[in-house]
Symmetry: C2
Subunit: 426 residues, 2 copies
Amino acid sequence: MDTNRMMSLAALVKARNVGKANPELMIALCRDAIARNDGRIRAFAHVAPSSGSQAHAIQTGAPLAGVAIGIKDIFDTFDQPTSYGSAAYESYQPRVDAAIVDLARRQGATIIGKTATTEFAFFKPAQTVNPHNHAHTPGGSSSGSAAAVAAGMIPAAIGTQTGGSVVRPAAFCGVTGFKPSFRLLPTTGMKHFAPSLDTVGLFAAGVEDVAMLAALLTGRDLALSAGEPPVDPAGIRVGLYRCKELETADPAMRAALDKAADKAADAGFDVGEIGEPEALAQARDAHSAIQNHEAGLTCGPDLARYRDLLSPILIQAIENGQAISPSDYDTARRHAKRGRGTTRALFSEVDILLTPAAPGAAPRGLETTGDPRFNKLWTLMGTPAINIPGFADDTGMPLGIQAVARFGQDKRLLRVAAMLETAFRT
Amino acid sequence: MDTNRMMSLAALVKARNVGKANPELMIALCRDAIARNDGRIRAFAHVAPSSGSQAHAIQTGAPLAGVAIGIKDIFDTFDQPTSYGSAAYESYQPRVDAAIVDLARRQGATIIGKTATTEFAFFKPAQTVNPHNHAHTPGGSSSGSAAAVAAGMIPAAIGTQTGGSVVRPAAFCGVTGFKPSFRLLPTTGMKHFAPSLDTVGLFAAGVEDVAMLAALLTGRDLALSAGEPPVDPAGIRVGLYRCKELETADPAMRAALDKAADKAADAGFDVGEIGEPEALAQARDAHSAIQNHEAGLTCGPDLARYRDLLSPILIQAIENGQAISPSDYDTARRHAKRGRGTTRALFSEVDILLTPAAPGAAPRGLETTGDPRFNKLWTLMGTPAINIPGFADDTGMPLGIQAVARFGQDKRLLRVAAMLETAFRT
């Protein structure tokens, strides 16, 4: 277990602002933590050299000065190699940053390294292990982003989710993983897999931390400011989402979800249960056809050029995707569209949905990265979703609760999640 | 005037299918036409070497065997340099093709070269001239794609439209330019400018040609097949779209639009006039904020790295975009969303809208590429739109009529456009 000392981005920034931490030292602290831990955790595909190049100069006074951020190696970086988790892109050096990397640099962040990703953010695992138990997967595809934060090497990391690749590894590693509303963060310069699903997300220790990062990257009112009038939990309808998949979750996870509901009620929220509309079950089933058809188009050029360097599981996914007919794809998109209408209606009955963030704790073994079945519907719906840690199974492995809000209600989700985070710990 | 002998893709394919043309000769014909004409037209940023490399081998029996396609140099190609019209990407060589290029190759097309684009598909002109009069702009941003088809060098080309970059140059060059419904063709591997607007489009001599190409690239039922029951024009409501901008069009263009309406009526269509709903005027005004805010994000990394190599007009656009607040962007998106609802309602009253494809014929001079004000609303709405040639001003420069249909009604638009194409010529 290497997760005792997660770094809080918000706490670091506050310490820096009152002169109790200086940016150079904050970065040095992360470099040291990486040097000490990453030999075991293998969260990084590449660590930036500490040379005094302009790219790594600290912009004193900038909002994220001294904040080291790990970038999932599915995003281009002009100053670090970018391999998309694939032998086909070994030693590839893009010319410019991805848009999200540029946003982080504009706020003064130090891009400390590239975090490990599964191949093309699909299912072939990276080498990363789970900091809570090295024999268990950290989840995927944003494996390194979740593990690097969990192991206390960096205060924040950026990832992507097409199925469940932010919320699931966050749950498995016991960190906060925030998948914002679709397109809140720009995807340009990421290696796309399924463009209508690919969503940029954020990892940090706690809800306040991801909220601060989201606010700084977007310039939007997303930070949890102490100055705002508090949310009255009695006015927030929290619904336990009784989807059919719930029966397939591990008993420990179902128990954790029940406990989460109890603690939310104890904290004063208006807690109830809510069944899954049939249109949403259909939409969930439509995710695969949409993802795979788009992957057939998006990764077709890689298959044409680099078949020998791609894994069998990826080749099969691309070929399966190319075999999905446009009319089957259109049918799936119609189900998704209907689902979005149903989701809007659902969020007139409830403010926040709670579901498992994954079927259980991180599975043992590094051969797979776990199952996104509790995440992919919300990726397809474009709704904001967040993993809130706080529970564990009887071996001590983290169990995450996923909270979901209406499209565009990212601020509300973050505010409620911060309250639930506290409630879950008491 | 170098436009006497446009090549028809459909005619070439039919000749090939009955043994009257062979693929090698078809490609050689295009190479010869490029060698003879492109010194004057400058439609190509790069022409593929004719070496016998595997990438250029002709797949006999494939649907597009022998069909030479020009690719706007805003798309990646693994075997040809890709410069995005920018000094910042001079001699850049991508690893893999853009998705649309891969689709064309999978159908057996020969990627004969990269067609000139304005810088990043924005407003700084390429060197291309208008084949109808070399002192006039070919339009932009897909300048080379339109000019290469117009000058009879190739039977088809691929472009993109974020404002009016397919329909406008097609109109200026007197070719068919088809901007399909948003996301009908994949954008992965293009240099994005504003991802929620960037749309891949097709250029060819006539409507049957773009329809055949669209069908082959997508696997969708889009070809104009002689076997189908004919469209009864009396059942098609064609609306002359009386937007406010119409008053700002050149007199020659307004006369051409009136003639187009008369000829459509003569051909038996149910022709009327339709006013512009206020929500659509507002949506058109929202296009700039959406485009520029997204360009600020998307091209921010280029500005950070390559400021010295970008043009002043592009730098200003990116910086203006970065200054647009998220709330102004959100307001613009709300206007766009309301506009889409209004567009759906509009297309319950009418099947096809007719508008100018541009304010007039191609302006004299190569310093600008003309104005997209008649195109950008439909790019934002995601509706299919097509330029239908057939008229000219008193100097003989082409005047194009734009036809627009409901989102997803690409087949209907193509069928009606083919009938209007005939009607305009009689």
